[in-house]
């Protein structure tokens, strides 16, 4: 009981030391609970794409749990460091190490209880609130979130494990230190760091390679493959940048006597050297967290915004109905029957026939695309889509007359130059390139999309057969070879009233082996389907963004406190040896602001280098509006920088309170 009481008094008396730790544990607990509640609640089943959303939430949950471990233990270790002197005092006053560990145990248990109670209340309130936002984001209308007890139990277990880990830290710290060293620990100083040339070279190399990978990436698939390599290199490179390069540069400055022994440089260089030594890892952490926030937020916002346009491009009218049978004529008959059966106003209808092939397309130096392609590279994968001139003219496009073997090219996505196409021995001459084709749905693609307009339906059928013959030849040993061939489909774009749309959308044939396939796709359904994904992604992005910023804020806070205590003495000493109060303040201000601005500047540089790669990744979802991606990124950087600055301002006050006390 005595230890329990002592522990309680400790927390109450040094609430200023405990409160950031409590804040960290409670907010991380609430975050974890929110995400697990969203991942496990049965209310989710009512949403479109519930499985995808659940998977995303679980993925987000895993990251949040990982960060909870990191942030909470970082915070607790700082608390332990602040309190070593107190522990030493207990030791000298006659408590043995076991007793001190007992006190720590009670302290942790009380913190845990407070965390669970406050965190659960906050977590449940906020998960209701955030669920509202989430449902709104994905365009659903089921706004009631049932609390999941699995989620509460899971969060409880995760945090029990984290606190058990903290207890281990406490025991190790108490065990390792003798009474005297416990007393001294607070004021321990370290040697000046060594040169760190190798670290610096490694850092520069890693960052250079990462930046090169990010900037030189050509296509989305390549971006996806190289993204993780670049991320790992940037993280390692950033740590080494702070631990190695900054120290190396400062040491070089110091070695230059004519530079170093000047009033402007002397104090700044020596103090920065000292600061960097104690804060390098903290600053690297801040940089990485801020960079991650940039990337996560910019990507998810760009995705959410961009995908609206992708869906709109896919649906010139609100419904697409497509028929895929053995021939164009069969398609047209099916179409007529469908119109009659369903009583659709046929005056509005303009059908067009098309087929689409996904293939390796290597374009030689002569700008001639040859099919089938040999020695194609990763980025050569392309989609080629054929339509007829007659259909396109009926859809409202102005196109020249075409002879057989003459085509008009429209590059729907990608910018490779092509002059002619060798289509399985058939030479197609590109007579004109148009910047767009009106009323033709645009399909999002990872790959380059070439639309080729051919003269008429006869030509279309011929080219389709050439491709199918090649497919059959390649898969001749497969008994089900017909399934691999690509049929010509005839499609209809139509604006339908909501009620009719709903009835028709159920008419899609689900059996893919059926000869006359009908697919009715509506813009609404497509939008909802894709929004469940991008909305979920945006939501996770925000949650992670908040967590990253919280982590960064905590590190900044602790940094300010520890530096404040160290700088306090320097303030007086520098005044004694002949600096005015103003000069001392100016000098310390400038050091503090260098340390503050460095992480955000490095983050912005990292992000700028990553921009090409990130926009290629966003391209995967068919979003090609670079202007939008750039402005979303710019706004993200601006907003985060402002938040970062506010955190700095707030924590600076604490710093100056310590220094001037």
């Amino acid at each position: 009981m005595f230890y329990l009481k002592l522990a309680f008094q400790n927390i109450r008396k040094s609430l200023s030391n405990f409160s950031p730790f409590l804040l960290a544990t409670t907010s991380m607990f609430a975050m974890t609970l929110i995400l697990s509640n969203l991942a496990f609640s049965e209310s989710l089943d009512q949403l479109k794409g519930a499985d995808a959303v659940r998977m995303m939430m679980k993925f987000g949950l895993a990251i949040i749990v990982l960060f909870s471990v990191i942030i909470v233990s970082y915070s607790y270790r700082f608390l332990l460091k602040q309190r070593t002197r107190e522990f030493g005092l207990y030791n000298i006053l006659g408590l043995n190490k076991r007793n001190i560990a007992t006190i720590s145990f009670w302290e942790l248990l009380m913190t845990f209880a407070a965390t669970v109670i406050t965190g659960t209340v906050l977590g449940l309130i906020f998960s209701e609130f955030l669920y509202l936002i989430f449902v709104h984001l994905i365009g659903g209308n089921y706004f009631n979130l049932k609390v999941s007890f699995t989620a509460i139990l899971l969060t409880l277990l995760v945090f029990a494990a984290i606190f058990a880990l903290l207890m281990c830290f406490a025991m190790v710290t108490i065990k390792r230190n003798s009474a005297i060293s416990l007393l001294k620990d607070n004021t321990r100083s370290e040697r000046e760091p060594r040169g760190r040339l190798i670290m610096s070279i490694l850092s520069v190399l890693m960052l250079a390679v990462a930046y090169y990978l990010a900037l030189s990436v050509q296509g989305p698939i390549e971006a996806l493959l190289k993204f993780f390599i670049a991320v790992i290199l940037v993280i390692l490179g950033t740590y080494l940048l702070y631990i190695g390069v900054t120290i190396f540069v400062l040491k070089r400055q110091k070695a230059n006597k004519n530079y170093y022994y000047k009033p402007e440089h002397f104090i700044t260089t020596s103090s920065m050297l000292y600061r960097m030594k104690t804060n390098a890892v903290g600053l690297a952490n801040i940089t990485i967290l801020v960079t991650m926030t940039f990337v996560t937020l910019a990507t998810s916002v760009a995705l959410y915004v961009g995908v609206q346009k992708v869906v709109a491009d896919q649906y010139p009218k609100n419904t697409n109905i497509s028929f895929a049978g053995k021939s164009i004529d069969e398609n047209k008959t099916a179409l007529d029957n469908f119109i009659q059966e369903n009583d659709i106003d046929h005056t509005k209808i303009v059908p067009y026939s098309t087929f689409m092939v996904m293939t390796n397309l290597s374009v030689g130096a002569d700008q001639k695309a040859v099919l089938p392609a040999e020695n194609a590279k990763m980025n050569d994968y392309s989609v080629i889509r054929f339509v007829t001139r007659d259909d396109m003219v009926k859809l409202g496009n102005d196109l020249p007359e075409l002879a057989p073997n003459q085509v008009v090219l429209y590059k729907a996505f990608g910018d490779r130059d092509v002059k002619s196409v060798d289509w399985f021995g058939e030479n197609l001459e590109i007579v004109k390139e148009v910047p767009s084709l009106k009323n033709l749905p645009k399909f999002p693609g990872v790959f380059d999309v070439f639309v080729l307009v051919v003269s008429d339906e006869q030509e279309l059928t011929k080219l389709n057969e050439l491709n199918n013959q090649d497919t059959i030849k390649k898969n001749s040993d497969n008994p089900n070879v017909d399934a691999f061939t690509t049929p010509i489909s005839t499609e209809v774009l139509i604006d339908l009233p909501a009620k009719e749309r709903e009835v028709l959308s159920k008419k899609t044939t689900n059996d893919t082996n059926q000869i006359n396939q009908v697919i009715v796709a509506t813009e609404k359904e497509s939008r909802e389907g894709i929004m469940a994904f991008t909305g979920g992604f945006l939501f996770i992005g925000f949650m992670l963004g908040i967590t990253f910023i919280l982590g960064a804020a905590l590190i900044i806070y602790y940094k300010q406190i520890s530096e404040g205590a160290e700088d306090k003495r320097s303030y007086r000493i520098l005044q004694e040896v002949g600096l005015t109060k103003k000069e001392v303040k100016k000098s310390i201000d400038s050091q503090v602001s260098i340390v503050f601005f460095m992480p955000i500047i490095v983050s912005i540089i990292h992000f700028a280098a990553a921009f090409v790669m990130i926009s290629k990744l966003i391209n995967i979802f068919g979003i090609t509006d670079m202007g939008m991606i750039a402005s979303v990124s710019g706004i993200t950087i601006l907003v985060i920088s402002v938040i970062y600055y506010l955190i700095y301002r707030k924590t600076s006050k604490i710093y100056y309170r310590i220094v001037e006390r």
Binding site: R188, S189, R191, E192, K257, N258, Y261, K262, P263, F266, S270, S271, L273, Y274, E566, R569, S570, R572, I573, L574, Q575, E576, V577, G578, L579, T580, E583
Partner: protein, 250 residues
Amino acid sequence: MFLEVNHLEKTFQTRFSKEKTQALRDVNFIAEEGEFIAIMGESGSGKTTLLNILATLEKPSSGEIVLEGKKISTIKEQQLAEFRRDHLGFVFQDFNLLDTLSVRDNIFLPLVLGRYKYDEMAKRLEVLAPKLNISDLLDKQPFELSGGQKQRVAVARALITNPKLILADEPTAALDSKNSDGLLELFEQINAEGQTILMVTHSSLAASHASRVLFIKDGQIFHQLYRAGKSNNEFNRDITTAITSLLGGE
């Protein structure tokens, strides 16, 4: 006349009460160049306030200080820092070395701020270091030094500007008796070379190394003793006697 302190008064007003505390009342004394003066008093007697005002770290409520004919109280805030750097040297109880600097750079600090050339700094240190027995310590960091070593480094930093006046605030308080003796002998030695020293202390042993002792109580100087050729031991006895009879024991 080297240093003249006339009618110095200092009143403190605490932030939370209207009550005023008079730390110094009508303090007057004169110091000649080359003197080694100890100011003795109990804690709370006002001796540290007096030193802080002489150091220009605090402003007096009234009265004036004249150093070599120049009124310190009229110097503007901006020039005060410069004045401290060029004319005063400080030795403090807790050494006040910067952890961020090596021993050598700690000593160079005032010279760097005064924009001296590196060669000049190095030349001065070359003369000073052996005298203070710190030649082997120059490349170490302050935390690697013992208390006595730290204090010798602090003395070096105070001396390197060739100040007119050394101000020492309880310089032996954090030292053991052996290191205290060493430091005081060092003070005697540099005093013998012509350096004026003003030291605040509550230890009669420390004061017995001075050439004159001023006694301060309740913010007033009420007595002084001259060494007048006595040995340290004899002088110490005199001081102790003075304290017991005048201050009512220590």
